[in-house]
């Protein structure tokens, strides 16, 4: 498999807590330039040819490290929309030169229809090959490695032949991409499907992980939904600490996508992540042999 690993495209996000930047805070961020280590935006919101969105992103990029996080490539599908979407992403990456580019390990489309949601894959050989083929295409087109994120899920497929974590690692190993490990998604799926969240994290090689995500979920009857509309829940903070112990310090993002609170609230969440990250880095500096690794796929 082709590899676009460092040094060609090193992961350049700071080893610090960043925040998902959404439209309600755009003007405030430009006006106040808050002390935030890095930002992540949804790539698709900046696909336009010109105008205010792309102008905004250029200005953010001048002052902060930036991650482009896609929600629409549908890496695990065979739809007819992929190539046009990839071209738009490639144009944006070329214009913005972000520190990091990431997508979800999921499917969102079938035929010429898009569902604009992150749907779970059956963990089969066929799905593995499809995801790897598309990630190859993306990395070839962008000439850089990307990170792929584990999504949360509410259903499991009867035909799955392997665990989600084995599938995720196999995709990363075979395509040469890195992993964006969403701690909240692991927690949500672990509760929904009854597996051990710690075992999931134990199975992920630290050197594949380029970024961590944290967000809030909501309980819906007897299962959890990944809404990104709440503060990070206490068991997810605990799992984050476990992940830092296992994987080493990693760039970490606070995501909040519905009922978006004030920027100050998001900064408070980021500060909580930052405190745990620094505690882990302090351990690293005290015992260098345990330090987290840079991404080297």
């Amino acid at each position: 498999m082709r590899s676009f690993s460092s040094p060609a495209t090193p992961i350049r996000l700071p080893l610090a807590a960043g925040i998902g930047l959404r439209a309600p805070h755009h003007a405030q961020v430009l006006a106040e330039r808050p002390a935030v280590a890095w930002w992540e935006v949804h790539s698709e919101n900046f696909f336009s040819a010109g105008g205010a969105p792309i102008e905004f992103l250029h200005r953010i990029r001048q002052s902060y490290p930036l991650s482009l996080h896609g929600v629409g490539l549908s890496l695990g599908a065979l739809d007819t929309l992929f190539e046009a979407h990839l071209e738009k992403l490639a144009a944006l990456v070329e214009r913005i030169e972000p520190a990091s580019v990431s997508e979800h390990l999921c499917w969102s489309s079938a035929g010429a229809r898009h569902f604009n949601d992150l749907l779970p894959l059956p963990y089969t050989k066929e799905a593995l090959e499809q995801a790897v083929a598309r990630i190859d295409c993306v990395q070839e087109r962008l000439q850089r490695s990307i990170l792929v994120e584990n999504v949360s899920s509410y259903l499991q497929f009867a035909d799955s032949m392997m665990s989600e974590w084995d599938f995720l690692v196999a995709v990363a190993r075979r395509s040469g991409c890195g992993i964006l490990l969403d701690i909240n998604n692991i927690y949500v799926s672990a509760c929904n499907h009854g597996f051990s969240a710690q075992s999931y994290i134990d199975a992920i090689p630290a050197d594949l992980v380029g970024e961590l995500h944290l967000a809030g979920f909501e309980a819906c009857e007897d299962f959890l939904i990944d809404t990104h509309g709440q503060p990070v829940h206490s068991p997810v903070w605990d799992l984050y600490e476990y992940a830092l112990d296992q994987l080493g310090a990693k760039p970490t993002l606070i995501e909040w996508d519905v009922d978006i609170p004030s920027l100050a609230v998001l900064q408070g969440e980021a500060a909580q992540a930052e405190r745990r990250l620094r505690a882990r880095m302090h351990v690293d500096s005290a015992s260098p042999q345990e330090s987290g690794h840079a991404l080297a796929a």
Partner: protein, 273 residues
């Protein structure tokens, strides 16, 4: 074992808001969860998918949403969603056919200006993200001998949209840019069903903000002529036939300042000269 495209076709079919309820063996066979549990969890996906499209429509058509009220707009959105699947992984692209769909909807017999308002709101959205307008090179224009200027073909910004409607579109749109109190009195002054003042709406963008302006009949004739590839002289003639008092210099300047006109070229004959 169904292939990946088969799995996704069956799963995707169950996400439609008009998905036939009932017990589809091929669907429930996909999942490890028992049918009743799988049904509830699948409903969470369906709610999310439909909710994303509803939100996209509400965000792209804020004036339509206000005109109809939340409940009726949601009904409209759900009918549209059932008939028009998303064709893009960029949710911002969803909803471009709403005007065409509204033309055929029963809502339009009651409020016949709705399709044109939808057309205007979509045009504003397209303009918002359209390629940045080139700055019209006035110095280069000044160097064109005046004898050749009538033959110039003026370039219109790619994001500019020009919508002619029998309804007072721009007045209604502008009223919805006001605060709620101001809006009510502004709307009260507009007879939305009045045919007395046909509207020629031009979509412009300034400093990243898009807006709709009303053109006079002569300005509209001028722009329509330029859009169809006619020369400056032909466009001026068209405008003068609407209004003998048409002022070409002032209109050109206004269109250049608002970035509706971005440049010019000579036709082939002129290039040889």
């Amino acid at each position: 074992m169904p292939s990946l495209p088969e799995v996704q076709a069956v799963f995707g079919g169950a996400l439609r808001n008009d998905a036939a309820p009932g017990h589809t063996p091929a669907l429930w066979a996909l999942f490890t969860e028992p049918e009743a549990l799988a049904e509830r969890r699948l409903a969470a996906y369906r709610r999310n998918v439909i909710g994303n499209w509803r939100s996209a429509l509400a965000s792209s058509y804020p004036v339509l949403a206000q005109l109809l009220g939340a409940q009726r707009f949601r009904q409209l959105a759900d009918q549209y969603i059932a008939g028009y699947p998303s064709r893009s992984g960029d949710l911002n692209d969803y909803g471009g056919e709403l005007a065409a769909w509204l033309e055929a909807s029963s809502l339009s017999s009651e409020r016949p200006y709705l399709p044109d308002m939808a057309r205007l709101e979509w045009a504003l959205l397209v303009a918002y993200g359209a390629v940045d307008a080139a700055v019209f090179d006035l110095a280069a224009l000044a160097e064109i001998p005046s004898a050749l200027q009538p033959n110039l073909r003026l370039h219109i910004w790619a994001g500019a949209a020009f919508i002619e409607s029998p309804w007072p579109l721009v007045d209604i749109w502008q009223a919805h840019q006001l605060t709620e109190d101001e809006r009510d009195s502004a709307l009260a002054a507009i007879d939305a069903l009045s045919h007395s003042a046909p509207c020629r709406a031009l979509v412009v963008r300034s400093e990243g903000r898009v807006s709709a302006l009303a053109l006079t009949a002569s300005e509209a004739a001028f722009l329509r002529a330029l859009q169809s590839g006619q020369t400056l002289a032909e466009a001026i003639t068209a405008a003068l036939s609407e209004d003998p008092a048409f002022n070409p210099g002032a209109t050109l300047q206004a269109f250049i300042v608002q970035r509706t006109l971005t440049g010019f070229s000579m036709n082939e004959t002129d290039h040889r000269l």
